[in-house]
Every structure is written in structure tokens, then in C-alpha cells.
Symmetry: C2
Subunit: 404 residues, 2 copies
């Protein structure tokens, strides 16, 4: 006999530009199954579940859902709560009370872990129940998957930003430092290189959390690049660490803010960029040094989105419903690259995706540890989507001088 009952969907962690594609993919697909009695959305992720803050998505029009799908940032709002066992027991109690038999949680590795614990708690109490984790994160750091929904659009933003900054800096030369999001993985910072077109285009240097950052090496790199190009554009991950693994940013601020997961707050301050700029100004005596911290613009910017990312985010939402309702399985949906370029969606064990994160492979980072390789370019290129704007230069020949 088919499992019958309600569907619950929620969104957790940081928003992305395409997270609502996954939401709408799941909602519209779930509507096709007669054993689904209602489709609920929880507001503010798991926090909304324990508070029974549900809305009835059965009563959304398809037209409005399609408009929501194209709107960046979690339409069901989100949370930074990281549920423990007791929290998950409470979740299961609420699920039972509302006869929720299918749970889809859109989020990163912490959300996968939540789904894993909730599923265990349900099994322990003999509650017939399917739970699927739908991946999303701009950090691109989930295990197993080739890449994650949300990354391509954020990467497109970062690539566009650096491509523009490169044109600006070429017109008014100097040193420019752009700080990019990414706590442990450098994928998003590495995307800064994806707008490079001409040989002398920036970013000329890229610093990732995967390689220890030292001031000496940094200054040497900047000096060399500045002497070579007469300017220097630098992409720096907010998560860069020293040899001991300590975030560079904690060397600079006395009062670090920590979230529920114990992570140091990295975004929402310009301090890392400002320190690095001061360093270049003081030690290399270069006058025009600027730094920008891209901050929250990167993950929900209205109007920059990768069409490939959009399509895949939609698909992982819909496939999650198939895995739960057609196949009766629990797990985490993964994206697997096949051919050149195509993807297949599979179901992974929750334990293989939960908690841990992925870093950039060595083959994506150059030997000097200050830029990316062509292998990364090949990897990232399809993810940023089609029709990436191309800059062009004047090619007219020089005129001979008369007076000098």
C-alpha cells in the first residue's frame, strides 16, 4: 500500500539565487501524486517546524510559484539553527501531529545532517516516513556532488564583478583587492578568474582557504604582478588561514562573532580587505590601493543568474520528489557530471553528505598557490551559464608622435 500523507518543504542556511527553483520544482512535482494530501511549507526552516509555522502551499497558484522560482533568496525564509537529537525529536513530534509523511529540506551539509537525524528519529519510533535532502550552497562544498545548485549563479556574479573591476582598474591602474565569500572552500573565489579574457586581465592573484596565507608571500606576489602589469587585481577568500589553520581575520579583530555552529563570522565586515590594502600601501609604497568586500551581494543579487544553475536547481527539487514518492527512498540528491556537458541526478546516503565539506582539489590550484588552473576553468565554465558578456578592446594602431 502506498504511503499517504502530507508533504513538508523547508529551506535552511544561507540563501542562493536559485533556491526557490528547487522549492517550486518539489512543490509542482509533488502535486502530481494523489497520495499527497497537502503540501506544506515551513517558515524559517527547522525553526518553523518546531513552532508549527506552516503555510499551505497547496493554495499557491502555479503562476505565482513560477514567479517565486525566479526570485532569489529563500521564499520560505531560513534559519541558522543546527538541530541536535532533542531538537529533531521535537521535529518528529510535530511531523506526526500533522501527518507529514514526506519531508524535503533544501540546504547545505548541516541541513543534510538534520534530515539524517530526523529520519533516524522517525525510524526509531516506527513512523513511516520519507526524508530527502535537496542540496544548495554557493560555497559548492558538498561531498559527492560534482557541484551544488546556487554555486553557478554566485560564481557568475563573482566573475562578472571581477571582469568589471578589471576593466575599471585597467582604465585607472592600481592595486585592487576583492574579498569573496567561502569559509573552507575556495570554489567561489576561484570563479573570479572566469571573466578573464585577455592575457593581462585580472585577477592576477587568487588566494584560497586551501593554501596557507603568509604576508611575505602575498607581498612578494603583489610586487611582482604590479611590476609586470603596472597594476594588480587580487581575489581573496574571506576564509584564508595561516599555516596553523587560524583564519587571517581572527588575527585582526578582538571580538569575533560566532554562529550557532561555532563558526567565526567572516562576512559583513570590510576589515580583511582593509588590512590587506594597508599592508600593500605601507610595505610596497603603492599609492592607489583599493579593497572591496563583495559580502551579501554575492548570494541573492537580483538580475544575475546562471540559466544552467536555474535549470539544475529546479531539477534536484523535482527529482527529490521522485526518489521519495516513486522509489520510496530517503537520501540526498546529487548532481553528477556526464559527457560534456550534461548531468545525471542520483540519490546518495545522507551519511555520505552530512556534516563534512569538500575543498578544491589540488588539480584546480596552481603550484604557487596563488591562482587557479585550466582544469578549474574547464570545470566551472558550464556552471556559470550561457551568454556570459564579453568585453572588447580598441585595436587601433598608435599614431606617431610629432613633438616628442
Amino acid at each position: 500500500m502506498k504511503l499517504e500523507g502530507k508533504v513538508l518543504i523547508a529551506q535552511g542556511g544561507g540563501p542562493t539565487a536559485v533556491i526557490n527553483q528547487s522549492l517550486v520544482g518539489a512543490v509542482l512535482e509533488a502535486r502530481k501524486f494523489p497520495q499527497v494530501t497537502r503540501i506544506y511549507g515551513a517558515l524559517h526552516g527547522v525553526h518553523g517546524i518546531i513552532n508549527e509555522d506552516f503555510i499551505d502551499l497547496t493554495q499557491e497558484t502555479e503562476q505565482n510559484l513560477e514567479l517565486i522560482a525566479r526570485t532569489p533568496s529563500s521564499a520560505l525564509l531560513t534559519t541558522r539553527d543546527k538541530p541536535d537529537e532533542a531538537y529533531c525529536k521535537e521535529i518528529v513530534r510535530v511531523l506526526k501531529a500533522h501527518d507529514i509523511r514526506f519531508f524535503f529540506y533544501i540546504g547545505g551539509n548541516d541541513s543534510a545532517d538534520t534530515v539524517r537525524i530526523v529520519n533516524e528519529e522517525a525510524q526509531n519510533s516506527d513512523y513511516d516516513f520519507r526524508a530527502i535532502h535537496i542540496p544548495k550552497t554557493i560555497d559548492n562544498d558538498l561531498l559527492v556532488s560534482d557541484h551544488t545548485p546556487g554555486y553557478g549563479s554566485a560564481a557568475r556574479f563573482v566573475a562578472s564583478a571581477f571582469a568589471g573591476v578589471n576593466l575599471d582598474n585597467r582604465a585607472l591602474p592600481g592595486v585592487y583587492i576583492g574579498i569573496v565569500m567561502g569559509r573552507h572552500a575556495g570554489f567561489l573565489t576561484a570563479a573570479a578568474a572566469m571573466g578573464q579574457k585577455y592575457d593581462d586581465d585580472g585577477p592576477h592573484l587568487i588566494y584560497l582557504p586551501e593554501r596557507p596565507f603568509t604576508q611575505e608571500k602575498f607581498l612578494k606576489d603583489v610586487k611582482e604582478s604590479y611590476e609586470r602589469y603596472g597594476r594588480c587585481i587580487i581575489a581573496v577568500s574571506e576564509g584564508i588561514v595561516d599555516e596553523s589553520g587560524t583564519p587571517i581575520i581572527t588575527q585582526l579583530t578582538e571580538n569575533v562573532e560566532r554562529d550557532a555552529h561555532g563558526n567565526v563570522q567572516l562576512s559583513g565586515t570590510g576589515i580583511l580587505g582593509d588590512l590587506l590594502a594597508d599592508l600593500v600601501r605601507d610595505k610596497l609604497e603603492i599609492k592607489r590601493v583599493r579593497s572591496d568586500t563583495f559580502g551579501y551581494l554575492q548570494r541573492s543579487f537580483l538580475g544575475i543568474v546562471s540559466d544552467v544553475d536555474q535549470r539544475e536547481a529546479r531539477e534536484v527539487g523535482a527529482k527529490a520528489v521522485h526518489f521519495a514518492l516513486v522509489h520510496g527512498k530517503d537520501g540526498s540528491v546529487s548532481i553528477n557530471r556526464v559527457g560534456n556537458y550534461a548531468v545525471e541526478y542520483r540519490l546518495e546516503r545522507l551519511v555520505d553528505v552530512a556534516r563534512h565539506t569538500k575543498s578544491m582539489p589540488d588539480s584546480f590550484i596552481n603550484e604557487a598557490g596563488n591562482h587557479i588552473t585550466d582544469e578549474f576553468r574547464k570545470y566551472a565554465e558550464p556552471l556559470l551559464g550561457t551568454d556570459f558578456p564579453q568585453p572588447y578592446r580598441v585595436m587601433a594602431p598608435k599614431v606617431e608622435k610629432i613633438l616628442k
Copy 2:
């Protein structure tokens, strides 16, 4: 007898997203006049003129020019040089040596002043010569013109950024401070409001250089807004000043950098945003406070452009050629709003545009001095271009709680 000789085009000051539309508009239009013997471009603005760093734009294909037109940031590169009389005498010496009879300088009010002095020097030495200033600035602060090319695209970027930040902050509530470019005029910061759609959308507060900024008022405003909405998004101009007209940023840094015009360096540092964030965190005891400084992303971002701005920038370039070559006049091209919405291009006296800048009119700023008015919205709306992306929200009804 018609004045015959070479055309010279250059770009000065900060780049914009559409500054090459004006360049290409002028080049392609100038090609239609047989009395134009060659079309030169000077590299790095007036700096390139005194160094005779010219390229022969006659040898650019129309196809490449069209591609350049769509590329952000000064294709001929730019300069911060502010020429005095001696500098302008040197410019005229070079112009004469190369038989340059028509000079088009794309820039802001300082560039207009340069064109004015160069023109005077040419007249004083009986050199038959036409000089036209082609307006551009993301600050929108030129006198006479209804608005300036470059503003609409930068305004679209700022509006898009705040619309995205609003969606992000709604999902993960807190206080968010975004620092926007604009030294004396608040037009660009005011554009932060152009992405507001729903009643509770941010920015909830907007601080402009046109109104004195006090910490007390700021904290009171933020507290009220935070209590009302449970969150608060704030757009702040980098150029905000205290009652005495001193930039707030100079209260915070000991070593201020000044450019050739004596202006304090405001962009390229996150310090203003960080200080305001600390203030809110400390005084209002709000935990989640974030600040971003949009910096250089605002003026040359690849992929965000206003189609209206593009079209008008193209047109001012082409019209400048008409004024010089058909009408034999000198001056500065202005954009004048007619109907709803249309524009006419006129020629102004250089002295009426040079040196001074325009501020936001009182009617664009609300009485409390912390937001904009509907009159500003009406003014700015057509400038941002068509097809501005619209965010949508879920509208599904709440589900009744069972356990609580």
C-alpha cells in the same frame, strides 16, 4: 569654408558602464563628415594628449566599435589629472601639431572645465577649433542636464543590489548597512529605493550627503525601524557629512588619502560601513549587524546596464559631433526631459556646466532626511531602464497549529 582636420576623442574621470557608447556614438558619427581627415583617440584622457599617446580610430572596424560600445569602463583608459592653464596650453600645442580641429572630451564637471580652458587657449592663439564636452558620471551631479549618462546603469546596479539584499535579509533578519558611492550628491544612494516593491521592503533608511548625519538620529532611526520590521536595511552614501560639512569618514581615519583635486578618498575601504555597524551593535545591542561597501562594483559591473542609459549615452556622443561639425559650435551636451518619458539633447555653455556640481533637490528627500520621496521615484524610474526584475513572495495561507 568648412573647418577641416582631425577629430580627437578622449575619456576622463571615473569609468561608467556606458561611457563607450558615447565614444562609439561620436566616432561613427564623425566618420560621416568628409571634412574629418582622421579620428584619433587619446589614451588616458588629457594625460595622453600632452604625451601624444594617440591611436588612430579611423582604423577600427565598425563591428569592433559596436562590441566596444557594449563593454563597460573607458576603452580609451582614463586619468584623474585636472589640467590648469599651463597644462591646457600644452594640450593646445599638441592639438596644433597634429592638426586636430575637433576635440570631444567625455567626462564630468572637471572635464567640462578642461574643455572650457582648452577652448579659451585655442581662441587666444587664433586656432580655429571646436571643442565639445560629452557628459558622463554615475554621480548624476552635472548642472543643467536632467540626468547624466552612466547614472541609470549604476542606479540599476544599486537598486538590484538592495533588492537582493532585502530578500536575503528578510530570510535571515538583522541590520544591514550598504555603503554607496557619491561624494556630494545622493542620487546614486537614493537609487537603493528603486527595487522596493512590498510595503516592508528595504532599504528602510537612506542617508544622503545632502542632509547632516548625526549618530544620535541614526541610532534612533535604526531602533524604530528594527522594532517595526524586525530587521533594518540601510543605504548610506560614502559622502555623508556632519553638521559642519566634514565627511563622517574623516572622523574615523587618521591618514586620509587625497586625489589631485584635493578630494578625500572615500571608496575602496570598508571603514565607514564597519564603524556604523559597530555603532549599531554596541549601542542598540542588536547581534546580527552586517555592512557591505559596494565600491567599484557599482560603476563597471559586467552584465548590469540600463538600456535607456545605453541609448542616451550613444546619442550624446553622436549629437556632440553634430553640434561641432554641422553647427560649428562649442559647448557641453545636455539631456533634457520632455513628455513622459522622452529626452531632447541641447548644447549648453561650458561655463554653465564646468566645475560646480548639482545636489539632490529638496523635493526628492523626505522631511525626516532619512529616505526619498515619490517624486524621486518618478524621476529615477525611467532612467534605470526596462525589464527590471521583479521579486515575488509566497501568498499561501497559514496552517492552524495543532500542538501549541
